[in-house]
């Protein structure tokens, strides 16, 4: 069994396990436990990193050459940002909510045929020496890396938005159960969603600015998608700044808006 496959499978199973263990803790009433999420999330993140490292060794460059790798990079970015944003916003439960999304995306990447680059096996054997024959375009790598981390931020914002909508629904309809007390406050979730969108938008802006300096600018469809995503999230932030977007509307926009980056992933894949 290829090493990278093992890493990916292990990471996916740990994320699924984080979610299931969290559900159990919720039933017991201690879902707010920080270490309960943090340690296994760190293990799963380590396995993701190991997968990307093996793939990087294989390609001799940033491992974003197929939809499979792009999905993995996106999931890795989401978890990385969770580790940065979670403690900052006191949102330890964000990890628990992120884990099923990551597990599903990685599960699809693992088992859906055709996600690898055409003509290339999904889990090719890693050569002993990396293929460093081709030149590495640093600007392209930076552009792609920043854009995918930005997409990761949008994914995390979608998770925070979903948590907002759930808490809002439970409080509005007086369904006061343990989950209400485990979830962060409505106000914090609204604020966190807005700030994570802002972080993602700034990263995407930086990625697009880098693209302007590339020798060979990305193709029309690829650039069009990136600009569409940039405009959409920029619009959300603008409306939020002028108080024309209320927290619940922002949460909905963050959840449904993330569909655009996800469904157009294949367009931004490859050179």
């Amino acid at each position: 069994m290829p090493t990278d496959f093992v890493y990916l499978l292990g990471s996916t199973l740990v994320f699924a396990g984080v979610f299931i263990a969290g559900l159990r803790r919720l039933r017991r009433g201690d879902a707010e436990s920080r270490t309960g999420n943090m340690i296994p999330m760190a293990v799963a993140f380590g396995l993701q990193t190991a997968f990307l490292y093996v793939r990087g060794q294989y390609h001799g460059r940033c491992p974003i050459t197929s939809v499979l790798e792009v999905v993995l990079f996106l999931c890795w970015a989401m978890v990385l940002l969770y580790f940065l944003a979670g403690p900052a916003f006191h949102l330890s439960l964000l990890g628990w909510f992120t884990s099923p999304l990551v597990a599903v995306l990685q599960g699809l990447a693992l088992f859906l045929p055709g996600l690898a680059l055409p003509g290339m096996p999904a889990f090719p054997a890693v050569p002993e020496k990396p293929d460093m024959g081709g030149t590495v375009d640093a600007l392209l790598e930076t552009h792609a890396g920043l854009s995918l981390i930005a997409y990761g931020a949008f994914g995390l914002a979608a998770v925070a938005g979903a948590m907002f909508l759930l808490q809002d629904h439970l409080l509005k309809h007086h369904r006061i159960r343990r989950l209400v007390f485990a979830l962060p406050s409505i106000e914090l979730l609204g604020r966190a969603t807005g700030r994570i969108v802002l972080v993602g938008w700034l990263l995407l802006t930086a990625g697009l600015v880098v693209a302007l300096f590339m020798e060979r600018t990305p193709g029309g469809a690829k650039l069009g998608v990136s600009i569409a995503v940039w405009v959409m999230y920029g619009g959300m932030l603008l409306l939020l700044a002028v108080s024309r977007l209320r927290p619940r509307q922002l949460a909905r926009a963050a959840v449904f808006g993330f569909l655009l980056p996800v469904v157009t992933l294949w367009l931004v894949t490859g050179r």
Binding site: G29, S185, E187, R246
Partner: protein
């Protein structure tokens, strides 16, 4: 040294009598000194709260029954009760294992009026601190109380007995925390200066809410409540202008119609900039038009819905009782085993054996305060058979 406890609580004694038997904190050093002067009392501690008065003491093994009578007489005399009142006072008397179990249950909130409440832990700690400072405690009570605090912490961390709100005020606070997180930045408006408003507002203030506005048809009453709670009074015809800056509204006016309508919230929406608005309607008939709950960012709870959440909290706590009692039993057993081992090692005389050693408690609602124990009026004697009221009196062993 053998430990015994005697006392009364909300289950055994009505408030009218309890309030006459309570010790003020500044009186406790004097009371402890008197207690220590009683013949045979080696150590002593007085726990006096609004729901219970209990005396814990250490005596040489076998001296307990006589000593208890001495302490009862001292307690009655201390509060200058006449013969008729003396008969009305029902004290539970617990020795060794029963006393240990009782203290463990008390400190864990299992014997409290509000099951699982945490305040009692601090009250017992304070009583212990005062007794220690007065030099009234010795090895037996020190070891027992320090263990009791560990038990209380274990119960708190390993069960859900203290989770969930059980009163309307506590539910309001918990829900407010789910909406705003930190209540320190919350601005609270009280409409109608009734008692329930005061209690609910007090709960929010105790959790950090700082800016309080009170509006009432009678401005004098609004001013009084505002002054009591460190808030600001607002004339009743002016509260609508303030709502844009308010996060939590507690409404309990006696108006026969709705006081707060959707248009009040709509008008203030721009000023609110998406901040949630928590409306607590505890008036009967209701003050707030239920249609406001359909508005974005507005969360309306009336008395019925708050009470439903409180009832759910009480049910959840009650469901934890079996688990907690089992934990207590295990920890009582561990403690007694360790104490017996320690006594054997040091060559100390054995304590009187467990249950049935003395008279024990029962409650006015018929439930025993400690398993296997019964109640004895203060004037009753400690011994076998039954007392004058037909209560069972257990034989000392």
């Amino acid at each position: 040294m053998e430990v015994f406890a005697l006392g009364l609580n909300h289950k055994t004694t009505p408030l009218a009598l309890r309030e006459r038997l309570s010790f003020a904190e500044h009186d406790l050093p004097g009371a402890l000194a008197e207690l220590r002067e009683l013949p045979g009392v080696g150590e002593g501690l007085v726990l006096s709260t609004c729901n219970r008065v209990e005396i814990y003491a250490g005596a040489k093994p076998g001296e307990g029954p006589e000593l208890v009578s001495e302490v009862v007489d001292w307690l009655i005399d201390h509060f200058e009760f006449g013969p008729h009142e003396r008969d009305a006072i029902k004290l539970y008397r617990l020795q060794s294992e029963q006393a240990v179990r009782h203290l463990f249950r008390v400190v864990s909130g299992l014997d409290s009026m509000v099951l699982g409440e945490t305040e009692i832990f601090g009250q017992v700690k304070r009583a212990y601190q005062l007794a220690q400072e007065s030099g009234a405690t010795g090895t037996a009570l020190n070891r027992l109380f320090q263990r009791a605090f560990r038990v209380g912490k274990a119960i708190r961390s390993e069960s859900r007995i203290q989770h969930g709100a059980t009163s309307v005020g506590a539910v309001a606070v918990e829900l407010a925390a789910r909406m705003f997180g930190d209540l320190a930045r919350c601005r609270v408006m009280v409409l109608g200066a009734g008692e329930q408003s005061r209690i609910t507002a007090q709960s929010l203030v105790s959790r950090g809410a700082r800016q309080l506005f009170v509006s009432n048809r009678s401005f004098d009453k609004a001013e009084k409540l505002a002054a009591d709670m460190g808030g600001r009074a607002v004339r009743f015809d002016a509260w609508e202008q303030e709502i844009g800056n308010i996060d939590i509204v507690i409404s309990s006016t006696s108006a026969p119609h709705y006081v707060l309508h959707p248009w009040h919230v709509e008008r203030a929406a721009k000023q609110r900039r998406g901040r949630p608005l928590f409306l607590i309607d505890i008036a009967v008939p209701r003050d707030v038009d239920p249609a406001v709950n359909r508005m974005e960012g507005v969360y309306l709870y009336d008395l019925e819905s708050l009470e439903a959440v409180a009832a759910q909290g009480r049910r959840e706590r009650a469901a934890q009782m079996g688990h907690c009692e089992a934990m207590i039993e295990r920890m009582v057993h561990e403690y007694l085993t360790e104490e017996a081992e320690r006594a054997r090692r040091l060559g100390l005389p054995r304590q009187t054996d467990k249950a049935g050693s003395m008279t024990g408690p029962a409650s006015t609602d018929g439930k025993a305060t400690a398993p296997g124990a019964v109640l004895l009026p203060a004037a009753g004697t400690v011994g076998g058979g039954t007392d004058g009221r037909g209560n069972e009196v257990l034989n000392p062993s």
